[in-house]
Amino acid sequence: MSKKKGQAKVTIYQDWCKGCGICAAFCPAGVFAMRSDGKSHVVRESECVNCGFCELHCPDFAVSVTPRETSRRKTDGLFDPRAEVPESPCSSDPGPEEHVGTPNREEDHGHKKA
């Protein structure tokens, strides 16, 4: 896999990020930085080599890396069954951002942590 820079667009769902710092600590290109709000921010997107570490290791599913061109990664084969579906599976659902801050307590059935 070539390690060309600027291959991908990196997005962080700020509402889901808990600021654990795994992405900032392990990113080989130093794309992320922790800021005073306690969350991770994309600071050097142009350095991203599209290795995918952050996406696989974000415990909160808050990082998304969109390649600008066709990429070749070990995990690419995993997604063949749906690769031809043009519309993303979640696009008809409300996105994750819309659910943040609107906990459905009635449906949580007492699982909420005390």
Binding site: A8, T11, D15, W16, C17, K18, G19, C20, G21, I22, A25, F26, N50, G52, E55, L56, H57, C58, P59, D60, F61, A62, V63, S64, V65, T66, P67, S71, R73, K74, T75, D76, G77, L78, F79, P81, R82, A83, S88, P89, C90, D93, P94, P96, H99, V100, P103, N104, R105, E107, D108, H111, K112, K113
Partner: protein, 283 residues
């Protein structure tokens, strides 16, 4: 590769409260992602999967993911899963347990499920502590662990989950960590596909209850610790004994591929029905 995150969102129950309940940096979220990627990669339908979870932080996993899910009582996840598998062997039953769930209160269930070699995929999330209940030391806490119930370091020797499963007769036994996520995908995928009782021990950090009391300043330090102190089994076997101290081998420890109890049970039933020694259930 936004597909990775997109895919995971596709399998989550978005009407549950998100972000999930796990602490910042908890590896359970990574295990959940890895499980979803593995299930998707193998092409199972959501309705063909049953996720059975016990009590503890790992038990919350069953709440968030959109399979058939059962959130059971403490330590008894394997008993519920055994019932489900015997009643409907066509279902793919995945059991998610914590280390306390699997090795202490559910220890006997684990060794007997492994001995029976019933077709389950068991993920034991080993964070070396009882995280949810306040940080008591667990059967897998290493000797010397400082915890809420062992403020001066605990004196007991820890269980090795892999050794226990191998000794009990499990068909496939592996160990991975949440840091080695691509490898973990492979281990979980293999455990899902193989017949018989398949167990994957997953080392996952608990910084809130374990790390803070045991000289890990941040949760990232725990991931760095996994990076330094785990070694692939192939390399571990080549090392001299003196070099092995403090290292944890990861990889596949046993891969026998023996057929599960539910298959042998069906074979026996068919055989007896052919012989006419027992009546078919339709009669």
């Amino acid at each position: 590769m936004a597909q990775v995150t997109q895919l995971i969102h596709d399998y989550l129950r978005h009407n549950k409260k998100f972000p999930h309940v796990y602490c910042a940096g908890c590896g359970h979220g990574i295990v959940l992602g890895s499980l979803i990627r593995s299930v998707h990669g193998l092409g199972y339908a959501k309705d063909d999967i049953v996720l059975v979870a016990g009590i503890g932080c790992s038990g919350r996993m069953a709440v968030y993911v959109d399979f058939n899910t059962v959130h059971t009582t403490h330590g008894r996840a394997l008993t519920f899963a055994t019932g489900i598998k015997m009643a409907n062997p066509a279902l793919k039953v995945i059991v998610v347990m914590g280390d306390g769930d699997a090795m202490s209160i559910g220890g006997n269930h684990l060794i007997h499920a492994a001995r029976r070699n019933i077709g389950l995929t068991v993920l034991v999330l080993n964070n070396n502590i009882y995280g949810m209940t306040g940080g008591q030391y667990s059967p897998t806490s290493p000797e010397g662990t400082v915890s809420a119930t062992s403020p001066f370091g605990q004196l007991e020797r820890a269980f090795d989950i892999v050794d226990m499963a191998v000794a009990s007769g499990a068909s496939y036994v592996a160990r991975g960590t949440v840091l080695h996520a691509t490898m973990l995908d492979g281990l979980i995928s293999a455990a899902l596909e193989k017949p018989g009782f398949n167990l994957v021990e997953i080392l996952t950090p608990c910084h809130t209850q374990y790390g803070r009391k045991n000289n890990f300043k941040t949760v990232v330090d725990m991931y760095q610790w996994y990076k330094k102190n785990t070694v692939k089994l192939e390399n571990y076997q080549k090392m001299a004994d003196v070099d092995r101290s403090g290292l944890t081998p990861i990889g596949v420890f046993r891969d026998e591929g023996r057929i599960g109890l539910e298959v042998r049970y069906a074979q026996l039933r068919n055989k007896l029905q052919e012989q006419g020694t027992c009546q078919s259930s339709t009669n």
